[in-house]
């Protein structure tokens, strides 16, 4: 390297690194510090309690339940979203069988591509309101209204979607998937378009059907994007705070009776409502560790040989 280059680089890095240290690293450290105290959240008086918060955490059924719900989200949200997005992206880009024998999307694919992206434009808060109306627990709800009209549901006993322990998590998964598919469709579409057409055409000539060209060509060449999508969705699944806290019953959501609780809602309730802020900070630390572990594992597990073209 040329002389002075280090100083030049360091000069550029100095302020961002300082900002990062102050606003990112320092709060992490502070939180860890608070997690060892009985801080109540509204003043700066507290005493040191060692690892008591952490031991209490592992005996806390509500928090343990919340971790399981997050894990369930972690498994189902990425799998369902990615599969749907891949399927739609493939149909939109290469699923059609054109008259001229070239590779193209199904009829109307340009239209679908725009429509699928609509949900992504909505903020999560609006989604919560929207799906609140869909899942509404009386005949005024969209799902209930349709099901009652079809005679599948008794008008005196409408399905209380978000108040049913067996449905509530799936109802939330459906919202996230609906929201996410459009974005990943566009992501995968962009990646698919960079796959040279001649590969597909060669496969076509060799007699490959839709399924074969998808599994033998599209998927391997898209692996990088799928991996990215997986990490993104995994992180979203570890969070879920906005939807759970606004759509489900109780203060900061999590209802009915903790059946939809996620780590972040339990944390917020303890932090703000119960005034057990030190304990909530311990939850924050556990959340951070779990999220880090999950992303590292996902990045490792999905690593494949990369094909260049």
């Amino acid at each position: 390297m040329r002389k002075g280059q280090h100083r030049f680089v360091a000069g550029f890095l100095f302020f961002p690194v300082v900002l990062y240290l102050i606003f990112v690293i320092w709060p992490y450290i502070q939180t860890f510090g608070y997690s060892l105290t009985d801080w109540k959240g509204q003043s700066q008086t507290f005493s040191f309690v060692g690892l008591d918060n952490y031991t209490a955490l592992f005996k806390d059924d509500v928090f343990m339940g919340a971790i399981w719900h997050n894990i369930l989200f972690l498994v189902f949200i990425p799998v369902i979203t990615i599969l749907l997005a891949l399927f739609f992206a493939f149909m939109v880009n290469a699923g059609g069988r054109g008259r001229s024998g070239g590779v193209s999307g199904v009829a109307g694919s340009k239209y679908y591509r725009v429509v699928y992206f609509f949900p992504q434009v909505l903020s999560l808060a609006i989604m919560a309101v929207l799906f609140g109306a869909v899942y509404r627990s009386d005949g005024g709800g969209m799902l209930n209204g349709v099901l009652i009209k079809l005679g599948l549901v008794d008008p005196d006993r409408p399905v209380e979607w978000l108040n049913e322990p067996n449905f509530v998590l799936w109802a939330l998964v459906a919202v996230v998937v609906w929201h996410g598919v459009g974005f990943y469709l566009v992501l995968f579409s962009a990646a698919m378009q960079s796959i040279p057409r001649d590969i597909y055409e060669a496969a076509l000539i060799d007699g490959a059907g839709r399924a074969q060209s998808f599994f033998r060509i599209t998927l391997p060449l898209l692996w990088d994007s799928v991996q990215t999508a997986w990490v993104y969705l995994g992180i979203a699944a570890m969070d879920m705070f906005i939807l759970v806290s606004t759509m489900t019953a109780g203060d900061y959501g999590g209802g009915p009776d903790h059946h939809s609780e996620v780590m972040s809602t339990v944390m917020m309730r303890n932090f703000l409502l119960y005034g057990r802020s030190g304990y909530a900070c311990a939850m924050g630390v556990v959340m951070l560790l779990l999220t880090l572990i999950v992303s590292v594992v996902m990045l490792r597990a999905t690593r494949r040989e990369r094909i260049e073209f």
Binding site: T31, Q42, S43, T228, M238, A249, L299
Partner: protein
């Protein structure tokens, strides 16, 4: 093209292509890790704090008979108002009056996010001067108090009243209304609004159907049955927030078992629920409504606005709520709805009479102990308890305050509010008020969860009693709960 490489996708054109991990892969990976930290971060940083600092502004003026706290003219007052069911117009009217009187300019904040806006300020030692700490996102009073953030309001309450300088402010209030603001024997929050809780119905609907307002639980069930046969729900409640139905359950317990049954719960008695006949009969009575299908269909999952609007559309005979209901539903209530309040109907052999109601003060106003302009804040609170400001409130917010005869008789009240005035007159001294909700947020939430399960028929009364008792027993183990006790 077609070459494969696991890690190294450098093309060899740059010097550092020999590194084990390709540059692009490295960037991608670190970006992914950066992303990881984003969602976790937003929660972690909520825990972070700025340091505390002390900032003693010079806001002391000279005290005099008409200025007992020494308000300094020309100073500034930082007012934060919960802008919920009552809006915040009343506070603006007060602030204008205050400005006229003392030349103190108010910095007004009307918000629903009390916690979000104020928690950082409390932690930084920089709180507002007076706060209406209410709503779903209120900072719990017990939490604030435990952290030494609240001013003991004795000084304001023992000051001379604005209307009658010979009387202390304390003695101009409806008896018992200060209790809800007590923490460890001190009044630290002024619950300003006089609220009554119970059932509500539409006078018009009842007249149409020929129903009489029920005084006993059996009459109540009979109306529910009748309503069901007419295709409308008997009882509606705000299921997404089990707070509401819990009020009805607890009121039945208190009326059946008397004040002792109520105090047993507040004082964390080991027989507050399991082993209490009142609790058992009350919860079985409520469960009967569920079992016989008298609930408005779907009400268990509705929000307060959804269910109350349904009730306004004559889809249910009764709904549970406090007296903020009328103001909250102003826009959806039909002109001729004729909203009426009803005390909880009686179970057989109840200890309290039918007229007895849960009544008390709500909407806690607090003065932070570290407020910058304490003199003006105290004076502001003293003025709030004057007839002039109390009337301003009744006009702007359709509700009563804790000031005895606090409303100018010339102010015309809406039907629901009028019926609460009559009900509270009929009740006289027969009012009661649970305090565990102010003292033990966690226990309250646990009982509400159990009630939610009961209403959805997922648990039986026996299980409800067990869970409620477990919540009480758990709270009793907390050494801090020894400091709260009522006789």
């Amino acid at each position: 093209m077609g070459s494969t490489s696991a890690e190294n996708d450098g093309t060899g054109s740059t010097e550092n292509s020999t590194a084990g991990v390709g540059r692009r892969a490295l960037i991608k990976r670190s970006a992914a890790l950066g992303l990881v930290s984003v969602p976790a971060m937003s929660f972690l940083s909520a825990c972070a704090s700025g340091g505390g600092d002390d900032n003693s502004g010079d806001n002391e003026g000279k005290t005099s008979e008409s200025n007992p706290f020494g308000v300094k003219k020309g100073s500034k007052l930082d007012v934060v108002i919960f802008k919920g069911g009552y809006g915040d117009d009343y506070a603006k009217a007060w602030e204008a009056a205050f400005k006229k009187q003392w030349d103190v300019t108010s910095v007004h904040t009307g918000t629903q996010e009390i916690t979000g806006k104020l928690q950082p300020r409390f932690n930084a030692g920089n709180p507002p001067d007076i706060v209406d700490d209410s709503g779903a996102q209120q900072i719990p009073i017990d939490v604030l108090h435990k952290n030494g953030q609240l001013l003991d309001l004795a000084e304001v309450l023992d000051a001379p009243s604005v209307d009658d300088p010979d009387t202390k402010v304390r003695d101009t209030l409806i008896p018992g209304t200060l209790d809800a603001g007590m923490q460890e024997g001190k009044v630290v929050a002024l619950n300003y609004i006089y609220t009554v809780w119970g059932l509500w119905y539409s006078g018009k609907l009842f007249e149409e159907k020929g129903w009489e307002a029920p005084k006993t639980w059996d009459d109540f069930l009979a109306i529910c049955k009748d309503a069901k046969s007419e295709g409308i729900g008997g009882l509606a409640h705000q299921g997404k927030y089990p707070y509401y139905i819990n009020v009805a359950i607890m009121d039945l317990i208190a009326k059946k078992g008397g004040l002792d049954a109520m105090k047993a719960i507040d004082n964390l008695d080991p027989k507050a629920f399991v082993g209490s006949d009142a609790a058992q009969e009350a919860i079985e009575a409520v469960y009967e409504v569920v079992e016989k299908g008298y609930l408005m269909p779907g009400t268990n999952g509705l929000t307060h606005t959804e269910s109350q609007t349904r009730w306004n559309q004559y889809k249910a005979a009764f709904i549970t709520s406090g007296s903020w209901l009328e103001n909250e539903q102003l826009k959806t209530t039909p002109e001729d709805f004729d909203m009426k309040f009803l005390p909880m109907p009686l179970l057989p052999d109840s200890a309290l009479p039918f007229e007895a109601i849960r009544a008390g003060s709500g909407e806690p106003f607090i003065i932070p102990s570290k407020a910058k302009n304490l003199p003006a804040a105290k004076e502001f609170m003293r003025r709030m308890l004057s007839k002039e400001w109390s009337t301003l409130f009744a006009k702007e917010a359709n509700s009563l305050t804790i000031l005895k005869d606090g409303v100018d008789p010339n102010v015309q009240l809406r039907p629901g509010t009028q019926s609460t005035v009559e009900a509270s007159k009929a009740a006289g001294d027969n009012t009661f008020r649970f305090l565990y909700t102010e003292w033990y947020s966690e226990m309250g939430t646990a009982i509400e969860n159990a009630s939610n399960e009961l209403m959805a028929k997922r648990i039986q009364p026996k299980e409800w009693l067990k869970r409620a008792q477990a919540a009480v027993d758990k709270q009793a183990k907390d050494p801090a709960s020894k400091q709260n006790h009522r006789d």
